[in-house]
């Protein structure tokens, strides 16, 4: 029902077209007119609205998960690694 309606009306896009514009919309690179069309769809489509909210939360979740020290190697760097770097660097003439 909604799909047929969305395809017929001017200034309306389908959910699939919404999907294609999503990244540009989030990066703020959609021209004004296209952005309005996008926002009209958001206003009338529950599915895309909830999808977008969950999509944004997903990005946030990924970012924050890596901010935790447990996601990263221990901060104390093995001395032999430091020694190896300095030795390898010294062992080869510059240029």
């Amino acid at each position: 029902m909604k799909g047929a309606m969305l395809r017929k009306l001017p200034l309306m896009i389908t959910c699939r077209e919404f999907e294609d514009f999503l990244l540009d919309y989030m990066e703020g690179s959609l021209p004004t007119r296209q952005r309005r069309i996008f926002e009209v769809h958001l206003a009338i489509c529950r599915e895309c609205r909830e999808y977008l909210a969950a999509y944004r939360e997903t990005i946030e979740l990924g970012r924050q998960a890596f901010e935790d020290p447990a996601a990263n190697p221990p901060e104390d760097v093995p001395e032999d690694l430091i020694t190896a770097v300095l030795a390898a660097r010294g062992g080869d003439p510059k240029g």
Binding site: E50, Y51, Y55, G62, F66, V85, A88, R89, D92
Partner: protein
């Protein structure tokens, strides 16, 4: 290239500062000053290891990567033009070194991501079960096992998509930089980034909906 401070984890506290400006350090490195080289390595090796590990997910490979990146940086310090911060330059070298290791370990083939992409019905309407509640990232990450689960779900993404998501969303390279680093077009970077995020949303949905026990 835009002046990027750093990726999320690259706190500014690790920038060499005790009694020596960045310019002094660079001058020292160019002159072959051993003490400056040692300080340079010590000041940067920690966060570089974290970057390499996030991208490679292997301790041994990450250490190899950091070693090669630092040696490359020390040998090429003469080519550092000072248009970006030294740290931004080093970050790029580290990322490029990690990508080289990834390529040699495993081809970045076009893995199948289709099952993880959004669903549409025959009228191209989105199929999205109603969200009665959505758990915030903060709440999910307040538990160690869930944090681990999020990281492992990111690891489940097909490699050619995971790497784009990591470079854009975590290492904070811009689209052009990712395109250059991977040797693909900017359009392709955007497509892969969007698919990676959409796939990750699907993988994380039980957590976001509060359905994970």
């Amino acid at each position: 290239m835009p002046e990027r401070q750093s990726g999320v984890l690259l706190g500014d506290d690790q920038t060499p500062s005790e009694g020596s400006s960045e310019e002094e350090m660079i001058a020292g490195l160019r002159a072959g000053d051993e003490a400056q080289a040692t300080r340079f390595v010590r000041a940067n090796i920690g966060w570089m290891r974290a970057v390499a590990f996030r991208l490679l997910r292997d301790d041994g490979l990450a250490d190899d990567c950091v070693q090669d990146a630092l040696i490359k940086a020390l040998r090429n310090i003469g080519k550092f033009e000072g248009r970006s911060k030294l740290k931004t330059w080093l970050h790029r070298i580290t990322v490029n070194e990690a990508l080289m290791k990834l390529r040699s370990r495993k081809r970045l083939e076009e893995d199948l991501i289709d099952p993880l992409l959004p669903d549409f019905d025959e009228n191209t309407c989105r199929i999205e079960a109603p969200w009665t509640r959505r758990i915030s990232a903060e709440e999910i990450l307040s538990q160690a096992e869930r944090r681990q689960l999020v990281l492992s779900k990111i690891g489940e993404l097909p490699e050619s998509y995971r790497i784009v998501l990591m470079l854009r969303d975590i290492e904070e390279l811009d689209t052009a930089e990712v395109a250059e680093a991977l040797g693909i077009t900017e359009g392709n970077v955007k497509v892969r980034l969007h698919r990676a995020r959409a796939a990750l949303k699907k993988l994380l949905e039980p957590l976001l909906r509060g359905e994970t026990p």
